[in-house]
Assembly symmetry: C2
Homo-oligomer: 233 residues x 2
DNA sequence: CGAATAGTTGACGGACTTCAAATCTTGTGG
DNA sequence: CCACAAGATTTGAAGTCCGTCAACTATTCG
């Protein structure tokens, strides 16, 4: 919790810097300018695995799927980057993942070189970067635990519960899923059919409600948490 | 690969510092002295989840299982720390895992405060720490991918292949497993019975040979790699 | 030597995947 | 605005894989 607290403070500080140039969303592409805002349409890529790292990104709206593709065509989505989250923080020289927008997505772009300069000037941001990297490792381990120890229901329940906490801080009971069932399956190591079935099961159990396919209402947060909860945190 | 290279250089530099005080293994416990060498017997703990971080450790021989325990009693081994690998690098204030020696294990201990001082004096070691943390995140993601996308055979094959590369750099074809079947199961999200069955299967397929339960000989490295290989790197 | 721990193997059942078909949603052109 | 097409989702049926329970064997330590 202490680490998370410091992280948020520094995120705010950094986001402040990033927001200086162009605070208002504008459709279209404005690349290679400090803190440019860019629209990535659904299914478009922001970058590919192996690309040289050029920018640090902050997701403003929508969602990015950070994934790796296997030789046999399957893919694993390592994580979804949601509004307020950062991508490409750290000292890697090339991207370890591909980044695809799962829905229309706005991102703020900060050139990596500028980010490095900021980091050098402000030692506090070094701590922030360290915290970000530690958080990333922890998130990856949470995923490994969820997938290694949980059944399909626990994985889906855990995923929805975590997602709702991230997205719906303001409205904890209802939110829009920013990705398809197939995306969720590729994240949790399940088929899209199994994801759909577990959604249906949660609906039958009166734990969630689904409206127009993408709108999820959490009816029983406590039970949802219990179903996947042992495996997170 | 570039990152790994820099990492190794800095590991050597840091290991050099750590080795200055007491270069020769000595049985028994010598705690709270710079670079003290300590023996942790099989099934003993080096620290527990939640303990305040006191030392950075380097495994000299044996192996540590870094795990978290779930409320229901199951455990997930996030990773095994093998000879030459470091544990507790980073800025966490308390341990996120418990560390148990799976076999008799020697570790070098460097007080965390001293490690911080070294890091401040030598900016290069900051890069090394960053590389370590990035490596940890990558290892966790590899685990998540292996567990999410692989069947039992792929998981075990991938695990053995990776382990042999880490342990048996000198003798790539034969090495001693430093953990039980149950430990491997807790790492890969399988039961110990399934792990045993997959070992037997690999033996029937003439991919590996097993001598005296813990000694593994890799008969067909190429095929072993192919069996779990799509899921790693 | 004997007990305790670790590992192997078999049988069975349940959980998830695969294949298939039907329904719902969304975007586009007329 | 409507119709249609493409994509996403839901649901069903059958098969495979892995977990559970159980019995047995091998190894280690006192």
């Amino acid at each position: 919790m202490q680490a998370t607290h410091g992280l948020e403070e520094n995120m705010i500080a950094m986001a402040g810097r990033m927001a200086l140039v162009r605070p208002i969303p504008e459709p279209g592409i404005i690349e290679h300018r400090p803190s440019a805002l860019r629209l990535v349409k659904a299914k478009e890529h922001l970058f590919h695995e192996g690309d040289p790292r050029q920018c640090v990104f902050e997701v403003v709206s929508g969602a990015l799927a950070l994934y790796t593709l296997l030789p046999d065509g399957r893919r694993q989505i390592a994580r979804f980057a949601l509004p307020g989250e950062f991508v490409c923080v750290g000292w890697e020289r090339s991207e370890p993942h591909s980044a695809e927008a799962t829905v229309d997505t706005f991102v703020k772009c900060l050139p990596a070189l500028l980010a490095r300069r900021i980091a050098k000037d402000a030692p506090a941001s070094l701590d922030w970067i360290g915290a970000q990297m530690a958080e990333e490792a922890r998130a990856m381990q949470d995923l490994a635990r969820l997938v290694a120890l949980g059944g399909a229901l626990e994985r889906v329940a855990g995923f929805i519960g975590r997602l709702s906490r991230k997205i719906g801080a303001a409205s904890p009971c209802s939110f829009a899923l920013p990705m398809t069932r197939a995306d969720i399956g590729d994240h949790l190591g399940l088929t899209l059919e199994t994801v759909s079935r577990e959604f249906s099961r949660l609906r039958r159990l009166r734990v969630i409600e689904i409206e127009r396919v993408t709108q999820v209402v959490i009816l029983d947060p406590a039970r949802l948490r219990r179903m996947g909860g042992d495996l997170l945190n």
